[in-house]
C-alpha cells in the first residue's frame, strides 16, 4: 500500500492543476460569452494582415 503515498499526492496535484486551469480560464474571460466566439469559425477571416499586429496586441492587453 506504499504506492498510495505516491498516487494520492499525485491525484491531489492533478486536482490542483485542474482547478488552477479552470480559474485561469474563468479569469481570462473564456466563459463570459458562450455564443459569439462560436460564429467566428463559420466565416473566413478576411481581415488584412495589418490587423494581425493589433490582434496580437489585443491578446496581451486582454487581462481584465
Amino acid at each position: 500500500m506504499i504506492i498510495l503515498l505516491m498516487l494520492v499526492p499525485l491525484s491531489l496535484m492533478l486536482l490542483a492543476f485542474a482547478i488552477g486551469a479552470f480559474i485561469w480560464a474563468v479569469r481570462r474571460g473564456q466563459f463570459d460569452d458562450m455564443d459569439t466566439p462560436a460564429l467566428d469559425i463559420l466565416s473566413d477571416d478576411t481581415s488584412p494582415p495589418a490587423q494581425q499586429g493589433t490582434r496580437d496586441r489585443q491578446a496581451s492587453v486582454h487581462v481584465d
Binding site: 498510495l4 466563459f31 460564429l39 466565416s43 478576411t46
Partner: protein
C-alpha cells in the same frame, strides 16, 4: 427604397438601413446575413455623439489600459450572436481601435481605443450607423464588479465540482472496505486527504449558502439556506471530529456533493434570470447622459446631466430626450410623453408649461429653464413609486416562504428528537442516524424541483421572445384566470394608419393620398408614419411644418396644406386630418390606430385557455367600443386612470381571481406592479418594463398564450417533481429514522432523486422548442 446587393435588388425601409447594408457589403462582412438568426432592428437617425469625447465623461467611464483607454457601453438592438459578431468585426476595422468584444446576451460592448489616433465619437458613429445606438453603462467600477461577481460564481462551481468528485473518490475507497481490512493508518490517511479536499468546497464554494444561512438566522426566518448550510456544516464538522479522534465513519462526500449539486441548481436559475434582466436593465438605465446648456453669452455647451443645475437653460434638439424637469421658454413645442403617460401621440405644450424629464422633443427644438434636477424630477419620483410597489411581495410568495421555514424548523426539531431517542436506544449510532435523516430529508430534490424546471422554462421562454425578469412570475402566469389589457400600444400598435378618406370637389382619394404622402414624406411627425407606405410619384418643394397646425408645401406649383381643418381650409377644427389649399378643403382623412395583426388570434387563444379578457383603457369610450366590437370582447372600461385600473385589478383579486396585466406606459407601472403577474410590451416605456414580471421582446401578442401554455406545463413538471421528491422523502424518512439508511446511501439516494428531477425538468426545453415557432 431599393438597393442592389449581390446582383439582387432588395427592399429597405429607410435610407439608414440601406446605408448600413451597403457598408456591410463593401466591408465584406456579408457573412452577417448568413449567421444571423433574428432580423435586425431599424436603423434610426444618427444621434449626436460628440459628447462622448468629453474628458469628464471619459474620466468617469473609461479606464486607462496599455495602449489607450477602455470602456464598456450598452447598446440596444443587439438581438443575436451575429450582431455581436458584426460589431466586433466592424469596430476592429476602425483605425486606432485595438480591442473590442461585444456580448449579445448582456447587450454590452467593450471598446479599447487609442485616443491619440481616433476619437471615441468617431468609433461610435460607425456603431450607430449599423443601427446600434450606444448608451452609457453604469460606470467602470460597477461594470467591473458585475463581471467579477459572475466569474466568482463560476469559480465556486468549478472548485465544488472538481473537489466533490475527488472527495467521492477517496470516500469510495473507504466504503469499498467492506470487511474492515484496511489498516488504521491507511484509513486515516484517506480521511485526512478527503478533509483537505472538502475544506475549500465547503467554505469557498459553499460560502453563498453560509452567508445566506447567517442572514436568515439574523432575520429569525429560517429557510432553505439554513438547512443547506446546517447539514453541510454538520456533516463537515462531525467528519472532522471523527477524523481527529479516529472514529468509525466520515461523511465528507455527503457534504461536498450536497454543495456541488445545490450550487449547480442555483447557478442555472440565476443565469436564466440574469440573461432576461440584463437586456431590460440595459434599456431602463439608458437615460439621457448629456445635456446641452446655453451659457450667458448665448453659446451652447454639452455637459453631463449630473452637472445641470436649477436655473440653467437647456436646449433640446428634435428627437432628443428632455434631461430634467423645467418650464418651456419661447413658443409652443410638442413633446412625446410616452415614458410618463404611455400615450405615444405627441402633445403640444404652450410657453411656460412644465416639461418633464424623459419626454422626447418633437417637431421643433425647444429651450427649457430647469426647475427640478436629479432625484426630484417627476420621472425619478415615479421610478421610486414603482420600486416601492415591487417591494411588496404577493401573498402566495409569502405563504410559500412561510411553509418553507415551517418545514425547516419542524425538520430541525425532529432531528433533535431523533438524536435524543437514539442516544437512549443506541448511543453509538445516534449521530449517524441523525445525519442520514438530515441528508435524506434535506429537500435537495425538493429544492431542485422548482429551480431546475424554472431554469428550463426560462430558457425556453427567452427563445420564444418572452423575458421573465422576476422570480414567481411564471407561477402566477400559470394560474392566471383573468387578463387585463391596456388598449394603447398593447392591442393596437403605436403606428397609425389612414382609415377612411373623404374627398371634395371631384378629387380622387388616390390623388389625395399621394399629395398627403408627398407632403409628409420627410416629416418626423408621427402622423407621417400613416402615409409612409404609400407610393407617390409627386414631389413636394418648400415643405414647412407649422407647429400645432400641420405641414405646407408646393406640389406642381400648387401650395397644399395638410393638418387641422382651420389650417387647411378655414373650417372648424374637428380633430381630423384635412388636406386643402388654405381656402378650400380637398380631402379629409380619418386616422385610426391599427389593430395588431395577431390581436384577434391571441385573444381567441387566450379564451381557449380559459382566461377571461378585460379591457381597461385610458381612451375615450368611442374608440374603446370600436375595439370591443372588432375583438368581440366582453368587459371593457374606458377613461380609466391609473388608480381606476389598479382598483379594477384589486376588485378582481378580492374575488379570488389571479390577475395578469398587459401594459406598456409608465402610468401603468403601479398597476403592473399591483397585478399578480404583469407583462410589458417590449416597445413600451422602459420604466414600465422594470415594473413588470415579464417583457415581450417581440411585438407578437401570440407569445402571451404560448407563454401561458409553457407556464402551465412548467407547473405540471414542478408538481411531478414535487410528487417524486415528497414520495421519496416519505419513503426515506421512516427508513432513516429507524436507522436503515447510512449517510452514504442517503447521499446517493438524494443525488439520484435530484438527477431524476433535473432530467424531468429538461423535458420542458425540448417540448417548448416546438411551440416557440409562431
Amino acid at each position: 427604397m431599393q438597393l442592389e446587393i449581390d446582383g439582387e435588388a432588395r427592399g429597405f425601409c429607410c435610407h439608414g438601413c440601406a446605408a448600413a447594408a451597403e457598408w456591410i457589403r463593401q466591408s465584406e462582412l456579408g457573412d452577417y446575413y448568413r449567421l444571423r438568426s433574428v432580423a435586425a432592428t431599424r436603423v434610426e437617425d444618427m444621434p449626436d455623439l460628440s459628447g462622448w469625447d468629453r474628458d469628464d465623461l471619459l474620466s468617469e467611464h473609461a479606464v486607462p489600459t496599455a495602449g489607450g483607454l477602455e470602456m464598456t457601453l450598452l447598446t440596444d438592438g443587439m438581438c443575436c450572436a451575429a450582431c455581436a459578431w458584426l460589431i466586433d468585426r466592424a469596430l476592429q476595422r476602425e483605425p486606432g481601435v485595438f480591442d473590442t468584444s461585444a456580448n449579445a446576451v448582456t447587450g454590452r460592448i467593450r471598446i479599447g481605443w487609442d485616443p491619440s489616433r481616433v476619437r471615441l465619437s468617431h468609433v461610435l458613429e460607425r456603431l450607430a450607423m449599423l443601427g446600434y445606438r450606444p448608451y452609457l453603462a453604469t460606470g467602470a467600477a460597477r461594470e467591473r464588479e458585475r463581471v467579477a461577481e459572475q466569474r466568482r460564481w463560476l469559480m465556486r462551481l468549478g472548485v465544488a465540482g472538481l473537489g466533490a468528485m475527488q472527495t467521492m473518490m477517496f470516500s469510495e475507497a473507504l466504503y469499498l472496505d467492506f470487511g474492515h481490512h484496511m489498516a488504521g493508518a491507511t484509513r486515516d490517511f484517506f480521511r485526512w486527504v478527503a478533509l483537505l479536499v472538502a475544506t475549500p468546497v465547503v467554505f469557498y464554494a459553499g460560502w453563498p449558502f453560509l452567508q445566506g444561512c447567517w442572514r436568515e438566522l439574523r432575520q429569525r426566518h429560517p429557510g432553505m439556506d439554513t438547512l443547506i448550510a446546517g447539514s453541510t456544516l454538520l456533516a463537515y464538522v462531525a467528519s472532522l471530529v471523527e477524523t481527529v479522534r479516529g472514529g468509525a465513519q466520515v461523511w465528507f462526500d455527503a457534504a461536498t456533493m450536497f454543495v456541488f449539486l445545490l450550487l449547480t441548481a442555483r447557478l442555472l436559475e440565476q443565469r436564466a434570470r440574469r440573461i432576461a434582466s440584463a437586456q431590460v436593465d440595459a434599456l431602463a438605465r439608458a437615460r439621457p447622459t448629456l445635456a446641452v446648456r446655453e451659457c450667458a453669452d448665448g453659446k451652447r455647451e454639452s455637459i453631463p446631466v449630473t452637472s445641470l443645475q436649477v436655473g440653467d437653460i437647456a436646449c433640446v434638439a428634435v428627437g432628443d430626450v428632455v434631461p430634467a424637469d423645467g418650464c418651456l421658454l419661447d413658443g409652443a413645442a410638442s413633446f412625446e410623453e410616452a415614458l410618463l403617460t404611455g400615450e405615444a401621440r405627441p402633445v403640444t405644450r404652450a410657453q411656460g408649461a412644465t416639461i418633464y424629464a424623459g419626454t422626447i422633443c418633437r417637431e421643433n427644438p425647444a429651450r427649457i429653464r430647469i426647475t427640478q434636477t436629479g432625484s426630484t424630477t417627476r420621472l425619478s419620483q415615479l421610478a421610486r413609486l414603482v420600486e416601492q410597489a415591487q417591494a411588496q411581495r404577493p401573498r402566495l410568495a409569502r405563504m410559500a416562504d412561510r411553509i418553507g421555514s415551517v418545514f425547516v424548523s419542524v425538520l430541525l426539531v425532529m432531528a433533535v428528537i431523533i438524536y435524543g431517542s437514539w442516544r437512549l436506544h443506541d448511543p453509538a449510532r445516534a449521530f449517524e442516524v441523525t445525519l442520514s435523516l438530515l441528508v435524506v430529508s434535506c429537500p435537495c430534490a425538493l429544492s431542485l424541483a422548482v429551480p431546475a424546471a424554472l431554469a428550463a422554462s426560462h430558457g425556453a421562454l427567452a427563445r420564444m421572445g418572452v423575458l421573465s425578469i422576476r422570480a414567481g412570475g411564471l407561477e402566477h402566469l400559470a394560474h392566471a384566470t383573468d387578463m387585463v389589457f391596456d388598449k394603447t400600444g398593447t392591442l393596437t400598435s403605436v403606428q397609425r394608419q389612414v382609415g377612411e378618406v373623404h374627398t371634395f370637389d371631384g378629387m380622387s382619394s388616390e390623388v389625395a393620398m399621394q399629395i398627403a404622402a408627398a407632403l409628409e414624406r420627410d416629416s418626423r411627425h408621427p402622423i407621417a408614419q400613416a402615409f409612409a407606405d404609400i407610393d407617390t410619384p409627386l414631389a413636394a418643394h418648400d415643405v414647412r411644418a407649422v407647429t400645432g397646425h400641420g405641414v405646407m408645401g408646393k406640389i406642381d406649383g400648387v401650395t397644399w396644406r395638410l393638418g387641422r381643418a382651420s389650417f387647411a381650409g378655414r373650417r372648424d377644427d374637428d380633430g381630423q386630418l384635412w388636406l386643402g389649399d388654405g381656402h378650400r378643403v380637398a380631402a379629409r382623412f380619418r386616422l385610426q390606430e391599427s389593430l395588431r395583426a395577431d390581436a384577434a388570434d391571441a385573444i381567441a387563444a387566450l379564451r381557449a385557455l380559459g382566461v377571461v379578457i378585460h379591457l381597461a383603457s385610458g381612451d375615450a369610450s368611442s374608440s374603446v367600443q370600436r375595439l370591443v366590437r372588432q375583438l368581440r370582447l366582453g368587459e371593457a372600461h374606458s377613461r380609466q386612470s391609473s388608480e381606476d385600473k389598479l382598483a379594477l385589478v384589486r376588485a378582481l383579486q378580492a374575488k379570488g381571481r389571479v390577475v395578469a396585466m398587459v401594459g406598456d406606459g409608465l402610468n401603468d407601472a403601479p398597476v403592473l406592479a399591483g397585478a399578480d403577474v404583469s407583462i410589458a410590451m417590449g416597445e413600451g416605456a422602459s420604466l414600465a418594463q422594470r415594473a413588470a414580471d415579464m417583457v415581450l421582446t417581440s411585438p407578437s401578442l401570440l407569445r402571451i398564450p404560448a407563454a401561458i401554455r409553457l407556464a402551465r406545463q412548467t407547473q405540471r413538471v414542478i408538481r411531478q417533481n414535487f410528487a417524486w421528491a415528497v414520495g421519496y422523502n416519505l419513503l426515506a424518512l421512516p427508513l432513516a429514522m429507524t436507522g436503515h439508511v447510512t449517510p452514504a446511501v442517503a447521499a446517493f439516494g438524494m443525488a439520484a432523486s435530484s438527477l431524476i428531477v433535473t432530467v424531468n425538468a429538461l423535458r420542458l426545453m425540448r417540448v417548448s422548442a416546438v411551440g416557440a415557432s409562431p
